[in-house]
Subunit: 232 residues, 2 copies
DNA sequence: GCCTTTTTTTAGTCATGGCTAAAAATTTTA
DNA sequence: TAAAATTTTTAGCCATGACTAAAAAAAGGC
């Protein structure tokens, strides 16, 4: 009877555990493997705390963990992580679209909100927001089944060539500092530009808006802006 | 310098601490004094845990607490508690109005959401919802300054007399069980009725809807339904 | 292949917020 | 007013999730 209970009762994760799963998920995507140290940096804890938590997540069946080999997610763990990403991004859409927050101010709040409630809440929020495909930073929102559609044809703006016509569709850096810098440059998601000129000296570039306004974009900025080339 | 920091840095409360403040607030309103035992029941903990927490809240300046005398809130504590009530009720409005939840299903979620974020978030939510005055259960929502407008002229339906015409404006019991029972009786906030007959035998009553439908309402139900008598 | 450096783990602590069981204080009853 | 019942507190314990400092393991340099 007690054994049955274990099977019937869905495993509950603490917010802290959820953050670790999300961190492993991000690192798997970024560098293939989640080292102890990288995890410590992401969750803002010490490596010792990470070891401790990884053991728990492994015991609970959400991660695979071999000493000195780094962590990977199990199917269950990946599922949790994707759901968290979904929740995070949907709340960001809500905060920007409905509560009129600036795109650079929503991360911390979404980080709190993503731990609330279960599938019911998030699916209702999704419907209320009209099933958005992207969050305010251009990142794709996993659907209710956990499928993440990867952004097609997106490249870093630093890889564009003179004469290219493109639309800004995402950012690599979602920090408030970077996003506010884009605001100052008048660069926003969905805007179209033509790359007028690449300057060899500092690898910066001159972008032309459709209305003719010129923007000088440093290579450091361009590396963190994602674009889609358009046909013409 | 360190001393200044204390003055400048707003005191942060844990979710658990916030729940205690809310509980004291409710008990103060309901019975004037918050006994240790009543608090234990409300926050679902043991009296020993309550003693423990009350000492912390007293040290932090949010409650006054004399051994064996029960707890009261300080101005700071009351302020926190009212803000929590405001957050709770605004989230309930959001869940019912925007996410189409049933009124009997929102309490637990609002209980989680009320601990998220600060004034900025809740004031934006308030504006988004168009500054609602009442939550889905008819309870008044404190404004941004912490002013709670008490419901005027509300009485228990069990105090109505034969021939009285009234509008349902609130409930005393927000449990899912009771609210679903009201659903079955077709009783909802804002609906108008005439009290056709009081039955002496079991103190139940017959209500007539404007469209003529009859509802038999037990005294137990009537005691938990709040109404406003209308002129005619 | 050994020595140094880096990474990870162990061991021991701490704060939070619970718990139980027993003791103490208060209130009620007779 | 004294005994009984209730309420509150104390004392000691537990789990979670952090931390530090030291030990151990792995990786790199030569």
């Amino acid at each position: 009877m007690a054994k049955n209970f274990i099977y019937l009762c869905e495993m509950l994760l603490s917010p802290s555990q959820e953050n670790y799963l999300k961190a492993i998920y991000k690192l798997e995507a970024r560098e293939g493997i989640a080292t102890n140290q990288a995890l410590a940096a992401l969750v803002e804890a010490t490596p010792a705390s990470v070891t401790n938590m990884l053991r728990k997540l492994t015991d609970a069946g959400f991660a695979e963990y071999e000493a000195y080999q780094g962590a990977t997610l199990t199917a269950a763990g990946r599922n949790e992580a994707v759901t968290l990403v979904r929740k995070h991004r949907l709340w960001e859409v809500f905060l920007v679209e409905k509560l009129q927050y600036d795109w650079d101010a929503v991360h911390a709040l979404a980080e709190e909100l993503e731990h609330i409630g279960g599938d019911e809440l998030i699916n209702r929020l999704d419907a209320f927001l009209d099933h958005p495909a992207y969050d305010p930073h251009g990142d794709p929102i996993p659907n209710a089944k956990g499928v993440v559609r990867t952004r097609q044809h997106a490249i870093a703006a630093s890889d564009a060539k003179e004469g290219d016509v493109f639309v800004v569709c995402g950012v690599r850096d979602s920090s408030s500092l970077f996003l506010q810098h884009l605001d100052k440059l008048n660069i926003a998601l969905g805007k179209a530009y033509t790359l007028k000129e690449c300057l060899e000296f500092d690898r910066s570039a001159v972008w032309v808006e459709q209305e003719g306004a010129l923007t000088n974009v440093s290579n450091e900025v361009a590396k963190n802006v994602l674009i889609q080339l358009t046909d013409e």
